[in-house]
Amino acid sequence: MSSIDSTMDRPRSVARPHRASTRRPALRLALGMAVILVALGYLAYQGLSNNLVYYITPSELLTRSPADQTGQLRLGGQVRPGSQHWNAQLHRLRFILQDPGHGITVISSVLPPPLFRSGIGAVVEGVYRHGRFYASSVLVKHSSTYVAPRPGHLPKSDQYVRR
């Protein structure tokens, strides 16, 4: 096998004088590729900086001074299992968004995405007033959506819908 390689190597070293002329297309292509890469890198940078969703956690919000709790905020956390209450007549969803420390009641007038469920990570955007968060948008955090819940995370109650 190695003998085949060495014979295949030989023409290359013989052809070396020609390489100066044959290297140019490779160089030109490399330059073109570099331009494309830079453009794509810029696109990725732009895309990333415009689409990062920063958020604060419930604990962070509660430790802020009242002056810093005003204005449009993004709050991220876990939907406390079993805390959702959907009022279909008013089209209003109420749930508790929690982190290991605290939970905050969120009132949303917008329909959450269908992936929204107990225990999932969510980011809500809106205003904080009188101890409640009024959300104008509910984002489900792209996270372990399909991963089976660990048994400890399952709500314990055995609840069927009964007529």
Partner: protein, 668 residues
Amino acid sequence: MASLAGHVLTLSALFIALGGAVACFLGGYRDRSDLVAAGRIAGLLVFGLITAACGVMIYALVAHDFSVKYVADVGSRQTPLYYTVISLWAALEGSILFWGFILSLYTALVVMLYRGDGSRAMAYAVGVLLTISSFFLFVMSGPGNPFIRLANPPSNGPGPNPLLQNHPMMGLHPPLLYLGYVGLSVPFALAMGALLAGNPRRDELSRIRRWALVAWAFLSLGIIAGMWWSYDVLGWGGYWSWDPVENAVLMPWLVTTAFLHSLQVQQRRQMLKTWTLTLIVGAFVLSIFGTFLTRSGVLASVHSFTQSAIGPIFLGFLTAVMAVSVLILVVRSEQLSAPGTLQSVVSRESAFLLNNLLLVALTLTVLLGTVFPLLAEALSGQSLSVGAPYFDRVAVPIAVGLLFLMGVGPVLPWGASRLEETSERLVVPALAALGAICLLLLGGVRGTGPLLLFGLVAFVAAATAGSIRRDLRSRQVGTREPWYEAFPLLVRGNPRRYAGYLAHLGVLLLVVGITASQSFGTQAYRTLRVGESMTLSGYRLTLAGIRPDPQSNRMVLQAFVNVSQSGAAKGSLAPSINYYPGVQQPVITPAVHIAASRDLYLVVRAVDRRLRWVSLQAYVKPLVSWIWFGGGLVGLGAIMALMPVRRRRPAEARQEVPLFAEPIEVAP
């Protein structure tokens, strides 16, 4: 009992795999064929043992043996038999067992298929496969043990995640993905074996290609099946959300796609050997990385992954695999430097190079978006998530570039360029693109992005049709066959080329389906009382009734919706909302009316407990079925590419004139 049997089986498999790996490496290194033979037998034994372990687990699941912790976690007496059996892969431990099973199956296949190959490279390849098996068996016998025994078994379990027992596709989609994901180990092992033994030969590269194609076919079909599952189960009217779980599968697929393309340049022009081998190594590394990402809990939070030992172990394995493969590639890179050089910028090989660049760039983009939140949280403690628009924004331009290359590539000649001829060949495709855009504009289609993409699809289709026509012409010059006789012979004579066209056709259908359904879908949301109606895109939807349907494992509330279009009844759809015991959030099952032109997709978002009204969300999505059809064609293309090629004489293979220009079979 079952847990003891399972544990003994996996433990003995671990020791046999380790011993076999050592025997293969040592036997290969010292040219001891007896040791290599022992290593191969170890490969077969490991397959037998893991198969038996899987059998034990399935038995425990079916027999509801809740003394096995895994069964107590995912099983329940109410779950139907089908979903009980497939809950083998419903959670972490079981899926690692299943992973090990598939890997040992592939190992046994490699051992059996190449039993006549006594080369050092093959011995090392089996050694590499057994090493990977050892790692998974180690995880199985320690931190990810599926056979842990519970001292106080419960009388019943919670059953698998409701999402996973809501659709029969769950029996097909994960095995396909695993076959693809784990299948990447084979080309990786063959490449590593060949590299450890020296410089991979041509036939060894063909072997790597073949197995990469097998994995790629399964990955493609698995991804499509997953999209279908997501569309049919999750009820948000979409099929792809740039979820890390999806990205984890997409990345190895993209890199394997790049490998399959760059290998053609390698085989044809003797270029890019190191690069090509790097790609297949990269695809395997990404498959391990994907497993780490989805199975370690790192996605929930960076800080949660240290809670189980699986995360750090996977990270360690990943680092080791990367370090060893990079080391081997660097050591061999001098020998690998290929004799071919690029002769012209305008040539098919540079089209392939650009294709590789774009595919790898797309992979890196997806990787960046997937791990950025993790890195940010780990490094700066900031909580953030990357929105789907990031992925769309970067992926769409790259996809446009790839599509363009898909049209131009097959038209360009290998080696030196003949610019005039090439541009002549692109006149008709360009006109086709313009024509398609004009027709669509006349038909009322608006939007720059969709029009551009549809135009490109027409461009690629016309360019490919032109190439096929030229092939046909040059064949007919020799044989004077009518086209309907010539075409099948042409395809049979060049299965790889036509397999590529078939896969490309599938991609075109995918692009049309994705573009149309993403750009021109409509939706409406209403709360309907029984008897009330809503309208959407010409459909009139009337709530006929709500029916409770208690089943063994769940309570199903079905809403019957009568569909009519301009007065004519179109039938009835029954989306439902399912309540599982012990799970508070109900799982919704959408009802979809699938048609070639557009899907009508209904979801019940909420239902009155006294069954007087439902909140109904309706989507109309054009051309979604094209995605499934296109995905199927991609898979079919991969299978066709696996068909053996007739051996050519070296002199013929090197000719500039395409092979199909010659009369292969002269008609009498």
